[in-house]
Symmetry: C4
Subunit: 135 residues, 4 copies
């Protein structure tokens, strides 16, 4: 793999982050009071790619009582961020709501991952977030 | 200990994580407005095991003013996730509500741990979460 | 320093954690709707000491526009956890409410620290938490 | 670079932290019910500088579908903390509300960073926080 860093332009290119990230907590609430799409209960993995080339990302979903499912394939372009909602993962299959899961994200180049949930099962939102675990 | 990795099947087997994890914050609220089990105030440790064999997990609970209690023994099967609620730990004794505690989790193989609390003492939920500290 | 580990009793003694921890975020809300002490807005550092001897802890508070204040001295006994509320720190001086601050915690033996805030300025609680940064 | 540590005064000077920090999650809610400035929805990066000299900080903002923007230049004086609101970054351009972004913070000396969001789109606040990722 040959890198052509765009170091003469701003921002400088960093080899930043890690190739594998784990998020043991996962849960997409079954219902939601909100109707605006951005306020409907959801769970997100935010990926930052500061490199000069695109990152190909594969997400595997782990369950309590059945085999892992994946890979869910995504792209995070060079020097971009993408925030993936777990309730919008479709292939190979959607993640069921109201059930615990965990996820492992693998990238072909270093990225940084953060996990966030918005819970709008009730009138007021609740939020959680943490940097994922760099394996 | 002999590993028989299932590397020919998806997902690949990773030596992923850490054997010891600490969670200094712990508190199970005494009351709860909610009646649905998944909305009653609770505190959780989410464990992800990406390995090819089962993980045997031992949790020790630390208190402000008395001896630690444990081990609470749990299993996280190979390539599975388990989300353990602290208010459902029974043996050797339940954790009292409304009192601070901390926990240390030890596993015989590497796992990844995340800590989450749902607080429903009032009409609306509050959430917190963080990756536990890999000791 | 001579250690007399209590390794023959449960739980085993670990050299667990780090001696210095940083929490850049700090803010004690000025008001609170709640009247129960445990529901009044507060900010906490939770310290877990898994060692066989007591930890002597010194907290320094950093401000945006004046000199740091401290040390606030605390003890976390052997194999105990203590959850310190920033609004209850008294000596050398209380932390003013409604102003940003940061904190650095130093211990003479390894401990683990987690940061939590309960915000009850409005009818419903909000929570945040993160493992502190091991410096 | 020559350091003149103020080690004879309290608090002692630490080489504490990291020069590069990443926050993959970023989102400034579009609206807010609150009217008090400190309760209006906002996203913050809290920086702690425990060193004996000022830190010059450069923040770069990454977007899903366009080039990164920056640097946003800030100073964190010696032995001070500064909590920067992303909705108050002005030069080279404000961050649009209601859109996902990510941020990378680089400092010329080691600092520690924590990420916090207050979401007041609804009657009650929601909070999230995590130590940023030390790259």
């Amino acid at each position: 793999m040959i890198l052509f860093p765009r170091a003469v332009v701003y921002p400088p290119v960093f080899m930043t982050g890690n190739r594998t990230w784990a998020i043991p907590e996962g849960y997409i609430p079954e219902d939601s009071i909100a109707t605006k799409p951005e306020l409907i209960s959801h769970e997100t993995v935010c990926v930052l790619n500061t490199e000069a080339e695109d990152a190909t990302v594969e997400i595997t979903i782990y369950y309590p009582d059945r085999e892992p499912v994946g890979p869910y394939k995504k792209t995070v372009p060079a020097q971009r961020t993408r925030h993936f909602r777990f309730d919008e993962l479709e292939e190979p299959e959607p993640i069921p709501r109201g059930q615990p899961f965990a996820s492992l994200l693998e990238s072909d180049i270093p990225v940084i991952c953060q996990h966030t949930r918005l819970d709008s099962r009730q009138a007021e939102n609740a939020l959680l977030s943490t940097i994922a675990y760099p394996v």
